[in-house]
């Protein structure tokens, strides 16, 4: 039978053991990432404008634009859903076009002008699309909503600019703001609560036509 005194650890011994475990954890995480602990992963400086404010960051090159916004600039409105460009929760507007911020690196946006949901409107001064989403109940849980609203604002711009979609009848004519056009163009924004029909009504109202 083991003597109980052998199981007793001094405070000093416990701290040393803890430090060793921490060091081992660090090594194994570093190994998993293919970096030696003495060599930090490559970092780079990048500067861009977010919601009208110039931002300077030094980031691990692997940082996506989404993670830069959420983790480094505390702009947590843009959401991480799938992190693979499939759900659209991370949609932001970069230099006037909507993109999936999870599928692009922050360092690729030197000098870019980025607009997130926080830049479209504020609780006191809502963007018309935000107001319309509230009025038409265009969400339930709200997780996809910032991406939906950024996408919705950009979609109306794309239709106004005459960019064709899969459902545009004539390639030589101008697309209209129709239910079919809006549904097709919003297909990159998934809403698991199924608020699609209310989102459609909100967008239609902002576009100034009847659903």
């Amino acid at each position: 039978m083991t003597c109980s005194s052998e199981l007793e650890l001094s405070r000093r011994g416990l701290l040393a053991a803890g430090a060793a475990t921490a060091a081992m954890t660090q090594v194994s995480v570093a190994d998993a990432q293919g970096v030696s602990p003495s060599k930090p992963p490559p970092a780079m400086h990048v500067s861009f404008t977010v919601n009208g404010k110039r931002r300077e960051l030094t980031l691990d090159t692997r940082t996506t634009l989404l993670d830069a916004l959420r983790e480094h600039l505390q702009l947590t409105g843009s959401k991480k859903g799938c992190d693979h460009g499939q759900c659209g929760a991370c949609t932001v507007i970069v230099d006037g076009t909507r993109i999936n911020s999870c599928l692009t690196l922050a360092v690729m946006h030197e000098g870019a002008k980025i607009t997130t949901i926080e830049g479209l409107g504020t609780p006191e001064r809502l963007h018309p699309m935000q107001a319309a989403f509230i009025k038409h109940d265009g969400y339930q849980c709200g997780y996809c909503t910032p991406g939906q609203i950024c996408s919705a604002v950009a979609v109306l711009g794309e239709i106004a600019a005459g960019i064709p979609s899969h459902v545009t009848a004539s390639l030589t004519g101008k697309p209209g703001v129709t239910n079919d056009e809006i549904r097709e163009r919003m297909s990159g924004n998934i809403c698991r609560c199924g608020a699609y029909s209310n989102i459609l009504e909100a967008m239609t109202e902002v576009a100034g036509t009847r659903a």
Partner: protein, 317 residues
């Protein structure tokens, strides 16, 4: 994601040379496919060369009446270009049938050509895949293969080329322009650009190490009626089960290319010659030698039916 270093190139020649200088380098443009694969550690480049600053983002007429599309023209801008919509409608239609608005805004002409397969066994790093790990086997053969290829496959791989844009470019006989690390330019007919898998499914295109696509050139417009008909599991934002790109002339002649069924956009000249004889004659020539699996045998009749729908649509137009 594995750590990597990153640089921005300013000229095509500089970008091509940088790849050779740094082993394990990859170009990045839109990044919508590459970063997806890097997150899964299917792609693990040690160095990224950002080519977005190369100013290859214009669409210009060529001296012989065609169109030269810069490698960095986004899918959205290419589909929306007035000249493309007027003279190469099948290309606009194919592009807007693919992906989502957000992805088309970011994806580039060259990057789209290089899009890798969406075979689920390629994406699942726990599965054997000769494309991802040469020599490891193919878990798709005998596995879930509903989406996968029915022709041009091999014992090593039955994956499909997933894109839409390239199917239209194959139909139009586009040419891919490149620059090599030594600065030499070359042109590759799109028919030779994507490879059949054979014994080396990890080799997907005719590009050599460090070779950079600078443009895609379209020959003179064909006239006729342009159609891209894509059949998929949902109405939007899904890969093709079968897609048909076609240009049909008033006299019933024309040409056709098929997506979603092979390692590359599928076009057979003998099938083009059979166009006036109807969908059955064209489909039988397109699919001669097809080897579907139990799961994807439905694609054989689906090709013929989609062709029939396209021919009916053009007759009505």
């Amino acid at each position: 994601m594995k750590p990597f270093t990153y640089e921005r190139a300013t000229t095509p020649a500089e970008a091509a040379a940088a790849v050779v200088r740094q082993p394990g380098s990859r170009f990045i443009a839109g990044g919508t496919n590459l970063l997806d694969l890097m997150k899964l550690e299917i792609e693990t480049p040690a160095h990224l060369i950002d080519v977005n600053g190369l100013k290859l983002d214009t669409i210009e007429p060529t001296p012989d009446g065609g169109l030269r599309i810069g490698a960095l023209v986004s899918n959205t801008n290419l589909a929306a270009d007035q000249g493309v919509r007027r003279d190469y409608g099948v290309l606009s239609r194919a592009i807007v049938a693919g992906a989502s608005g957000q992805l088309r805004n970011k994806a580039t002409t060259a990057g789209n050509l290089l899009q890798r397969t969406r075979c689920p066994y390629f994406y699942d790093t726990n599965q054997a895949c000769n494309k991802r790990r040469p020599g490891s086997g193919c878990a798709a053969i005998g596995g879930y293969s509903r989406q996968l290829a029915i022709i041009g496959t091999s014992d090593a791989c039955i994956a499909t080329y997933p894109g839409d844009m390239a199917v239209a470019m194959r139909l139009l006989d586009a040419t891919v322009e490149t620059v090599q690390p030594n600065g030499a330019a070359r042109t590759i007919p799109i028919a030779d650009f994507h490879k059949l898998w054979g014994k080396t499914p990890h080799i997907e295109t005719a590009l050599t190490n460090g070779e950079l696509i600078t443009a895609v050139t379209l020959p003179r417009p064909l006239g006729g009626t342009h159609v891209y008909h894509k059949v998929r599991d949902r109405a939007s934002y899904a890969y093709a089960l079968v897609s048909v790109a076609a240009v049909i002339q008033r006299d019933g002649t024309g040409r056709v290319a098929i997506g979603g069924i092979a390692p590359k956009p599928w076009r057979v000249e003998a099938a083009d010659h059979a166009m006036p004889q109807g969908a059955k004659a064209v489909a039988s020539r397109l699919l001669a030698g097809a080897k579907p699996t139990h799961d994807n045998a439905f694609k054989v009749p689906l090709v013929e039916r989609t062709l029939a729908a396209v021919l009916a649509e053009t007759r009505a137009a």
